[in-house]
């Protein structure tokens, strides 16, 4: 495959960035999107051009670090996958592909396609934890949880903190992420001691970081690589309402 790539290049968070155009030949349809970027970078290095910086780690859709905006969509044109799980067969020979970093005020661009996602970490620090008894391991199944609730909690726990929900939302809202974390803990008995404080603190931190507010467009759910449902956002609102008035 022959591709034209329009990639956002930005030296550091203080510089102004712009798009650079690169032509890439003999791209295999079986390559992942990140492998295609690797090939591009090898070519750039051989030409003494600074390679394109992008985040990646696991390359199998579980770490959440590889988020980029591809042709106007978070993680590219396919649903329910990360950029590292996207294959070049999703594109056509001769295509032009636009690659941009996540755009949100709380996610400043560090370099090229890499953004600073530490606001999500600070939200986690403000309440995304439980108190657990130290000492010997508790007996398995000592705390009974019905199957459906466990499934709901596990679905919420699938969030990998990639930030695609923020990136895709027209309001740059982080509510899908926060709702996934709040739901994961609120659904399980282990999360109950900090239940109210957690939701109040996490929402306060989310607002402080400067994320927008959800207008229920559902863009986040559609673009989330883990297909986290916006029913979690309803649960977040419920939890917040209850905790505020308690």
């Amino acid at each position: 495959m022959k591709l034209t790539l329009k990639i956002w290049r930005q030296k550091d968070s203080k510089s102004k960035g712009d798009f650079s155009t690169y032509e890439l030949e003999s791209v295999s349809p079986d390559m992942s999107f990140l492998e295609m970027l690797d090939i591009l970078n090898e070519k750039l290095i051989s030409q003494n051009i600074d390679p394109v910086a992008f985040d990646h780690d696991c390359r199998e859709g579980i770490c959440g670090s590889c988020g980029v905006y591809i042709n106007g969509r978070a993680h590219g044109p396919k649903r329910g996958i990360t950029a590292c799980q996207l294959h070049m067969r999703s594109f056509k020979d001769g295509d032009t592909i636009w690659v941009e970093p996540w755009r949100a005020k709380p996610f400043p661009v560090l370099k090229d396609l890499v953004v600073d996602r530490s606001p999500l970490d600070r939200i986690m620090q403000s309440g995304g934890f439980i108190s657990a008894r130290t000492g010997s391991a508790p007996d398995a199944n000592a705390v009974l949880i019905d199957h459906d609730t466990a499934e709901l909690a596990m679905d919420a726990a699938a969030c990998i903190g990639c930030g695609a929900c923020v990136a895709a939302c027209k309001n740059a809202s982080a509510m899908l992420f926060v709702s996934a974390k709040v739901s994961h803990f609120a659904l399980l008995p282990q999360g109950h001691p900090e239940r109210e404080a957690r939701v109040l603190n996490m929402v306060a931190q989310m607002d402080k970081e400067g994320f927008g507010a959800c207008t229920n467009t559902g863009a986040c759910e559609a673009e989330c690589p883990k297909s986290i449902s916006i029913t979690n956002i309803a649960r977040l609102n419920r939890e917040y309402l209850k905790a505020s008035f308690k």
Binding site: K105, A168, Y240, S244
Partner: protein
């Protein structure tokens, strides 16, 4: 009392106020629409006059009117705040952005449909409320209605505004329940269906008045 200000200034707090007032304003639409159907009685506006006289003089109704004004003010004030904050959250736009792949146009243009409905509301209040209740006039409310709708410009504008109201309600109705935390696998499909029905029936109901007076009324 600090918790109240924290709640009212939080993103979710503001959203909840918008949803709550939104549902309240929906109930007002129903009342307003059902009263207006008296316009269809073939009595040269007699029943409608009695009704509009009652609405403008009854103490309880006047009191409820304050609540209604407050409902509008809170709904608009909080959406304005949220919209400004949301705009601020994405200072650099995407070069290529395809929101149509992940959401509906109606859900994304609530601010604009709301703004146009507000423009309609101001003109509408000026034609009827201000003329009759603030300035005062010898013309009856019924005569005013007939007169206004005889103008094709006003009637078509009214119909257009109802279309926008329909779009606004189409997303707004079910969205309000979601924001209030009411999302349930048994009831949400029902709420969505009711929302769709509401967003068609209520604006279409209102649109029957200009259509009637413009085309069918002698």
């Amino acid at each position: 009392m600090r918790w109240i200000t924290v709640f009212l200034n939080s993103s979710i707090g503001k959203k909840i106020i918008v949803s709550f007032t939104g549902i309240f304003l929906c109930s007002f639409l129903v009342v307003h629409l059902s009263g207006n159907f008296l316009l269809f009685r073939n009595d040269a506006g007699e029943a409608f006059e009695v009704y509009s006289h009652f609405m403008s003089t009854n103490g309880i109704i006047r009191f409820l009117e304050i609540g209604l004004a407050l409902g509008f003010i809170l709904h608009i004030f909080n959406t304005l705040r949220l919209t400004l904050e949301n705009k601020k959250a994405r200072p650099v736009p995407y070069a290529v952005y395809k929101p149509s792949e992940n959401s509906t146009l109606t859900s994304r243009s609530m601010f604009y449909s709301g703004l146009l409905v507000l423009a309609f509301l101001i003109i509408h209040l000026n034609t009827f409320f201000v003329t009759h209740r603030v300035i005062g006039t010898d013309v009856t409310m019924y005569e005013s209605v007939v007169e206004s709708f005889k103008s094709p410009v006003y009637s078509w504008f009214y119909i257009f505004a109802m279309l926008l109201l329909g779009l606004h309600l189409n997303h707004g109705f079910q969205s309000a329940f979601q924001t209030l935390g009411m999302n349930h696998k048994k009831y949400t499909p029902l709420i969505k269906f009711l929302g769709l029905l509401f967003s068609i029936v209520v604006p279409a109901g209102f649109a029957t008045f200009p259509v009637y007076f413009l085309f069918f009324h002698q």
